[in-house]
């Protein structure tokens, strides 16, 4: 089973991504992740399941399309097709800071040490680190910087606020 880095430890991935399943009746039991289009089409039925629900966003899809549903979703899966493609960073930031999503935001794809701190600061809190990399070693990147110039989704007070004496 693939591993997810969350809160500093590696945990088993308990979610099944059902992208590609055609009929709702054939979906497996347990917690599932569905693509955004499928979610929007079938959400009335999906919420009747006795499982947690997650939605996968392609990195060109607007997270605001989930605005009314975030209370019913426990997980949003974001895609980083290559380490140089930062679109999902904006999606994570919008989910956390504008839409107020409090569930898990999971980074998938080309997830590596030198990009993970940016992801975390934008609100990603679970990482499907590339399997050929040491996920726990990668987590050391979270300690690279003590402070932040920007107000971001990881909850740290920005330097401008500390200078004001707010800390």
């Amino acid at each position: 089973m693939d591993k997810i880095l969350k809160d500093g430890v590696l945990i088993d991935n308990e979610w099944t991504d059902v992208t590609g399943y055609e009929a709702l009746s054939s979906l497996p039991s347990g917690d599932i992740v569905v693509p955004l289009d499928q979610w929007l089409e079938h959400r009335a039925d999906l919420v009747k399941r006795n499982s947690r629900l997650g939605v996968r966003l392609r990195n060109d899809e607007d997270p605001a399309r989930l605005a009314d549903d975030l209370g019913r979703i426990a997980l949003v899966v974001l895609e980083f097709p290559s380490f140089g493609d930062g679109r999902a960073l904006s999606q994570a930031n919008l989910l956390r800071r504008r839409l107020g999503f409090e569930g898990e935001i999971r980074a998938t794809g080309d997830v590596q040490r030198d990009q993970m701190n940016d992801m975390r600061r934008c609100g990603v809190d679970a990482f499907a680190v590339r399997p050929d990399r040491d996920a726990l070693a990668a987590a050391e990147a979270f300690d690279d910087f003590t402070y932040s110039y920007q107000p971001t989704a990881d909850g740290r007070l920005p330097i401008s606020r500390i200078r004001r004496g707010d800390a």
């Binding site: 930062g86 999606q91 910087f145 110039y149 107000p151």
Partner: protein, 550 residues
């Protein structure tokens, strides 16, 4: 000038440690070159034709003398004894060793300097008008806002992996001296009808293979919204900018393909959601940054120094330099001084370690210990007493830094070209030096009036050849270097993109082609006051083409 506090110091120190670790992981094979490349680029490290190149940021072009001495030391200790000032207020070293770069970064951090985001698909060094704070036509000093943008853009996690590089410039004068129209975002300090000062925001300018002039997205942005508005533009760009084709990835293409109206709608909608949020600047925040750029302790002096008048009378060589290199200052008795790095001996923008040390000493003696770097690859002393000008000039003459060609044809902007750059398709520096030799005669040079000439060694346009009144573009046709000629560009308030005259010229013919163009200008101008650009705009390109190809 801005002084780091403990937070800024810790940021750059931790950046050095991070990069040291990344270099170690590259050298032990943990990182592939493909993976390492974007990381080294974010620290200003390029791989060039013969060696690595290191680009150091000089935020908004402002240097303290101790910083310039550090740059001299780095040139001496880690490089071949010189540095190259670029068009975007950076300095580049052409011969550093990769394993020594972390040590160089640590040395820079000691003097509050860094290479952060001087390359890569992220927000680059914010540039400014080099006359900030002293220009006669200034509406407000842009530097406090530049520093705010520098800090906001440093390690911005959402915008560290953009479709392409992103450049911001801020200008505070009635005249644009920062080439705003050719930046991804250009910010012009303006006063509205109510007398309030804010920003005109321009977006989507750029050069490269598809030159475009920025369009105004907002006529007036109140200052407190500067950062939230920038963030809205960057967010729209990050999400919608093209990533399928590197040549169509800049925001200028997004603006071009969607139209400025559509982009404005998207940006303003995003901004509405954040404008009064955590990024809103309070008056006291702005005042705090302004305090760093308070005027130096000027003396009360007469507007016109009597000794200077005598020196101008008695020393024609000084008078000629004075007429060219000395720029009016808003404070009586003071002047700004252009220090030309277009000596005709060194490549345009190059300066040696010893020259840097000597310039630092002169800055301490004559200009409150500060030096500016401008986008024309020259240096500037911003605050010189008129009574010191003659002594300063003599010192500059001794250093070969008193070439009085500011704003003239031989004040050439040039990229490093194929002598250094792995992207270049032709050499730039030899053409620049040939032109400087050909137009050495100062009487002839001055007769040609104010004129900008820019030479790029490939279509990436690092020397902004489209923006020169005369532009030269080196290309490679079937293994032969050829130089195309462009006429009519400008990077000022009247920004325009130069047009190619026709087929390119061989290396031994390009200087002659420039001479032909200037012969037409001299024949057709209505008087010495009519500049080359004005004549070109009046006549169009036909008479020039006829002379070149007829």
């Amino acid at each position: 000038m801005y002084q780091y506090d403990r937070f800024d110091h810790q940021m750059v120190r931790e950046r050095v440690a991070q990069f040291r670790g990344q270099v170690a992981r590259r050298l032990n094979g943990e990182l592939t070159e493909d993976e390492f490349k974007p990381l080294r680029l974010r620290n200003g490290v390029y791989l060039q034709l013969h060696a690595y190149m290191l680009r150091v940021a000089i935020p908004y072009g402002l240097l303290a003398s101790r910083q310039l001495r550090k740059l001299a030391h780095i040139a001496r200790r880690y490089d071949k004894g010189y540095g190259h000032f670029s068009t975007r207020q950076n300095i580049q070293y052409n011969w550093p060793r990769l394993d020594e770069v972390p040590d160089i970064l640590a040395e820079l951090a000691e003097v509050e300097m860094h290479t952060i985001q001087t390359s890569g698909n992220c927000i680059r060094n914010t540039t400014a008008d080099h006359l900030a704070g002293v220009a006669v036509d200034e509406i407000e000093d842009p530097r406090p806002y530049c520093e705010l943008v520098r800090q906001w853009s440093t390690f911005h996690p959402e915008f560290n992996w953009l479709p392409r590089k992103f450049k911001i410039a801020i200008s505070g004068g009635a005249q644009d001296r920062a080439a705003l129209a050719y930046h991804d975002i250009g910010l012009r300090l303006v006063k509205n009808d109510a007398g309030e000062i804010g920003f005109e925001v321009m977006v989507g300018g750029g050069l490269g293979r598809t030159p475009m002039i920025a369009k105004t997205i907002r006529e007036f942005l109140p200052k407190q919204h500067l950062l939230s508005y920038l963030e809205a533009i960057l967010r729209v760009y990050n999400m919608l900018g093209r990533r399928d084709n590197i040549f169509k990835a800049r925001i200028k293409i997004l603006v071009h393909e969607h139209g400025i109206e559509k982009i404005r709608e998207l940006v303003e909608a995003d901004w509405e959601a954040t404008r009064d949020g955590a990024l809103a600047l309070r008056d006291e925040d702005i005042a705090g940054f302004k305090a760093f750029f308070a005027p130096p302790p000027y003396e009360t002096l007469p507007a016109n120094d009597s000794g200077l008048a005598q020196q101008l009378e008695s020393d024609p060589a000084f008078a000629r330099w004075h007429g060219n290199a000395v720029i009016a200052h808003r404070v009586p008795g003071y002047a700004a001084v252009d220090i030309s790095l277009k000596t005709g001996v060194q490549a345009p923008g190059d300066v040696t370690d010893d020259q840097m040390d000597a310039i630092a000493d002169l800055a301490d003696r004559y200009s409150f210990g500060q030096i500016r770097v401008n986008h024309r690859q020259n240096l500037l002393f911003a605050d010189v007493r008129q009574s010191d000008l003659h002594a300063l000039w003599q010192a500059l003459v001794d250093l070969d830094l008193a070439t009085p060609n500011n704003g003239k044809l031989t004040d050439i902007i040039s990229c490093p070209g194929m002598d250094f750059c792995s992207l270049a398709t032709a050499r730039s520096i030899p053409v620049a030096l040939d032109l400087q030799r050909r137009f050495e005669d100062l009487d002839h040079l001055y007769d040609l009036g104010d004129l900008t000439l820019n030479i790029s060694g490939c279509i990436n346009a690092c020397a902004h050849h489209h923006a020169g009144n005369i532009g030269i573009l080196g290309v490679n046709k079937k293994g032969e270097e050829l130089y195309q000629l462009l006429l009519g560009g400008s990077s000022r308030n009247d920004a325009s993109i130069g047009a190619i005259t026709g087929p390119g010229f061989a290396p031994d013919a390009i200087v002659g082609a420039v001479e032909d163009v200037l012969a037409v200008y001299l024949e057709r101008r209505e008087g010495p006051e009519e500049t080359f650009l004005e004549v070109y705009r009046r006549l169009g390109d036909q008479p020039f083409k006829e002379r070149l190809y007829g």
